[in-house]
């Protein structure tokens, strides 16, 4: 008997969505029958997922790109936010995050908020890898690509505990945001931000150097 699997691919680049489709189609056989839908933006994707739920035939798998154009009408600004929403609406759907990002902070954030069943870095991925990942998912296994596994290992080995705000501060600093401007991004006062930076410096074993040294160390330690 053949399995009928519903797949939703969300990516704003048609060429990518097409290539996923081609690869997945390649896996079809007598046992596996795939119903693949492609959506190029958050609004369409969101609508499709809601419909699928209404028809009581949720997607089995959802391929989610992180860099997606903002959907202002829905108040969803990126792929990660959409992922969180999908978890709410359609918890039975397995999420495959495919992203071009490779900054540890972003990856860590995705792990924490979406906790996808498969997490792949686009640059790591070859058609074979994608097939393997998909197979793992079909077999109810979790699949992380190489980069993610390394990141997780580093985090586990670390005995440094940074909370989300700390990571946010580090991330934005590394992006060239000034401490003064952090006030508008991180929900902390300027004094609190300075205090956190001082704490991180202590935790990282830095006795001197400014923000640059802090970011360098954070990068070494895999927080960025």
């Amino acid at each position: 008997m053949s399995k009928k699997i519903k797949v939703l691919i969300i990516d704003d680049h048609p060429i990518i969505a097409d290539s996923y489709e081609n690869i997945l189609k390649d896996m079809e056989d007598g046992d596996l029958k795939l119903f693949i839908e492609k959506r190029r933006n958050i609004e369409e994707a969101y609508q499709s997922i809601e419909i699928s739920k209404a028809q009581n035939s949720p997607y089995h798998f959802i391929f989610l790109d992180i860099s997606l154009p903002v959907a202002e009408t829905l108040g969803i600004f990126s792929g990660d936010e959409l992922g969180v929403k999908i978890r709410e609406i359609s918890p039975e759907s397995k999420i495959v995050v495919m992203t071009m990002h490779n900054e540890n902070h972003r990856l860590y954030n995705i792990l924490r908020t979406i906790n996808p069943e498969a997490f792949l870095i686009k640059s790591d991925v070859s058609p074979e890898d994608l097939k393997i990942a998909f197979k793992d998912l079909l077999d109810d296994r979790i699949h992380y690509s190489q980069t993610i596994r390394l990141l997780l290992r580093k985090q586990i080995v670390q005995d440094v505990a940074l909370d989300n705000n700390d990571r946010s501060i580090l991330y934005h600093l590394s992006k060239g945001v000034r401490t003064k401007e952090l006030e508008d991004i991180v929900p902390l006062s300027l004094a609190a931000i300075e205090k956190r930076k001082k704490n991180m410096r202590e935790v990282f074993g830095l006795d001197k150097g400014g923000d640059l040294a802090l970011i360098e160390k954070a990068r070494q330690l895999g927080f960025l």
Binding site: H13, I15, S19, N22, S67
Partner: protein, 640 residues
């Protein structure tokens, strides 16, 4: 030594009246006296010589020696001797009927004694002056000076002087026809005279009282006084003049009182006495009185003879008052020639009045000068006080003003510095914020390009790669055509990359942009405010990055000030600003077509001087040309 002693001895002998003037002058030649040292002894001797000549009535020698003593006393500032000499001179003039000169020297002497604080002598002089004034009928002046004399003399208790003073007052008020007052003073004089125990003077005082009574027409009272005076023992021998005067007055009063039977004998007796002592003035009055008496008895012939006698005597003695009386009487007696006598009377009376008036005027002038002298002295002291107070006050005020001005200037300078500093800070902030903006824009551009690379190009590449990998092993025609499509797709990505690269290249990130931006912002703002057209031209070859911030700040300020001035005053419709580099100098030119201003007048204006000082601070030059066609400001700053 002997010689000197000998000489001194004779001097002392002379001064002590042990030798006479003539003997003294026989032994001492004038040259000898003149040649000795000018000391108090010499002055005393010369004074005595002068005084002795005065006593001897040798007027020529007296005046010579008097002048001499005045001169040598002047040399030694011996005021006392000068005063004494003036006193003698005044007395001399008085005796020669030169009343005005006498008055002058009395007053000069009085001034000196006043200066020397010699109250007695000053009082004496005042009294003498008063008597002189009384003589010329300056009764008011006389009264004032007598009062002044009395003020000085009263505390000294000199009865003889007090007698004279009161006597004088009595005479004055008699002449003023204030007989009660006159009597009052004469009675006071009589009191003092009694203290003197001088019967002659007492008789004289009684006579004066009698005369006043007579003038009051209280004839019996007058007769009583005259008779009392005549009881003075041996009066005929002691003072025949007074005796004759009393007889005359008594007789005349009897006649007036309507008892002519007693008169004739008395008047004739008096005439005989006066004739025997050749008392001309007495004879004149006596003859007049007798003539009047004879006239009343209709003995016109004898009356005419006596009246005429009186007139000729009065004329010979130049006693003008008496001449007048004689003329008046004659006009009555000699009815035929009455008119000519009256005419003569009027002529003489007129000229006399004129004379008296002129003398009185002279007195007034002398008195006025004296008063003025005193007042001037007082004024001078007061003035000096005022000058000192004023000068020190002025000096203090000047110092205060100077301090205040100095502080003000310092304050102003500080304020100016503060203003300038604030202005400089403002520009720094402008530069900083503009740099911030640039930085922000830079960051934005960076993240935009990064996003473009990341989301666009990378994603496209990923899609192409993934697809190509998929198609790698497939040889079917469909796959082949797909591959071609992907390769075409890669070409599109190439174009994308080129575009991004071009964007990266075209974005200017030099910090110099910021100053240019500031200049443009300033220009646009001022242009809107001043409502003028024109252009801001920035030379392409200016590398603003290489120009020091200090220069930028000053240049910006000067431009700002220039534009503000144009807005405020020039009413220009076109303004051109140009920046250029020439000979390693930054040049700025601001030209407007406004109404211009007077550079000479406004040179001190704070705006222009500020601009100048900024230019100077940078070692540059600022030239301002202004005329009716507009203003041109040229700034040149060396860049080294």
């Amino acid at each position: 030594m002997e010689n000197v002693n000998g000489k001194n001895e004779i001097f002392y002998n002379y001064l002590e009246n042990k030798v006479s003037l003539s003997y003294f002058l026989e032994t001492q030649s004038i040259e000898k006296i003149n040649s000795i040292k000018n000391d108090s002894l010499k002055r005393s001797v010369i004074y005595k010589i002068s005084y002795d000549y005065y006593l001897n009535k040798d007027s020529v020698n007296f005046r010579t020696w008097n002048r001499r003593i005045v001169r040598i006393s002047h040399q030694q500032m011996d005021s006392a001797k000068i005063a004494e000499a003036f006193w003698d001179l005044a007395s001399f003039y008085y005796e020669h009927d030169r009343i005005d000169s006498a008055y002058y020297y009395y007053s000069e002497s009085e001034k000196l004694y006043s200066f020397l604080n010699k109250d007695l002598l000053q009082g004496k002089m005042l009294l003498n002056m008063a008597i002189m004034q009384t003589k010329v009928k300056d009764y008011i002046g006389g009264e004032v000076n007598t009062a002044n004399a009395l003020r000085l003399l009263k505390p000294l208790g000199k009865s003889n002087l007090l007698y004279s003073a009161y006597n004088n007052l009595g005479i004055i008020f008699n002449e003023l026809e204030d007989y009660n007052k006159s009597l009052q003073y004469h009675k006071k004089a009589l009191e003092y005279v009694k203290e003197l125990e001088d019967p002659i003077k007492e008789a004289n005082a009684l006579n004066n009282i009698g005369v006043v009574y007579e003038n009051q027409a209280q004839y019996s009272a007058a007769i009583k006084k005259f008779e009392e005076a005549l009881t003075t023992g041996n009066l005929l021998e002691k003072n025949p003049r007074l005796y004759a005067m009393l007889l005359d007055n008594l007789g005349y009063t009897h006649f007036k009182n309507g008892n002519p039977q007693n008169s004739e004998e008395l008047l004739l007796h008096s005439l005989r006495v006066r004739d025997s002592i050749h008392h001309t003035a007495g004879l004149v009055i006596n003859n007049l009185h007798y003539a009047e008496y004879l006239s009343s008895t209709k003995d016109t012939v004898n009356a005419y003879i006596h009246a005429n006698e009186a007139l000729s005597l009065a004329k010979s003695s130049k006693s003008y008052g008496d001449i007048l009386s004689a003329l008046l009487l004659l006009s009555e007696i000699d009815a035929e020639n009455g008119k000519s006598y009256l005419e003569e009377y009027i002529d003489l009376s007129d000229s006399l009045q004129k004379e008296e008036r002129s003398i009185r005027n002279k007195f007034a002038r002398i008195r006025f000068e004296t008063d003025e002298f005193i007042e001037e002295n007082e004024n001078l002291t007061a003035e000096r006080k005022w000058i000192i107070a004023g000068a020190s006050g002025f000096f203090l005020i000047a110092i205060l003003l100077y301090i205040i001005r100095d502080q003000k200037a310092k304050n102003k300078e500080l304020q100016l510095q503060r203003v300038q500093q604030a202005a400089n800070e403002e520009i720094y902030n402008l530069l900083l914020t503009s740099q911030d903006k640039v930085e922000q824009a830079k960051n934005e551009a960076k993240s935009r390009i990064s996003a473009e690379l990341h989301d666009g190009i990378l994603s496209k590449f990923f899609g192409i790669r993934l697809s190509l990998e998929m198609l790698q092993d497939k040889e079917d025609p469909e796959s082949k055509s797909k591959r071609k499509e992907f390769i075409k797709e890669m070409k599109a990505v190439e174009n994308d990359i080129r575009e991004v690269s071009h964007k990266l290249n075209s974005a200017k990130f030099e910090s110099g942009v910021s100053f240019v931006q500031i200049l443009h912002e300033l220009w646009e703002e001022k242009q809107k405010l001043g409502n003028f057209k024109g252009e801001l031209i920035l030379g392409d070859d200016i590398n603003w990055d290489e120009i020091a911030n200090k220069v930028k700040i000053h240049v910006y300020r000067i431009l700002q000030e220039s534009l503000s001035n144009i807005i405020k005053y020039a009413q220009a419709s076109n303004v051109f600003i140009s920046f250029s580099i020439a000979d390693k100098s930054l040049e700025m030119e601001v030209v407007d077509d406004g109404c211009g201003f007077d550079t000479e007048k406004s040179a001190k204006g704070i705006g222009l001087s500020n601009m100048q000082s900024r230019a100077k601070d940078l070692g540059g030059k600022l030239k301002v040309n202004s005329g009716e066609e507009g203003t041109k400001i040229e700034l040149e700053i060396p860049l080294t």
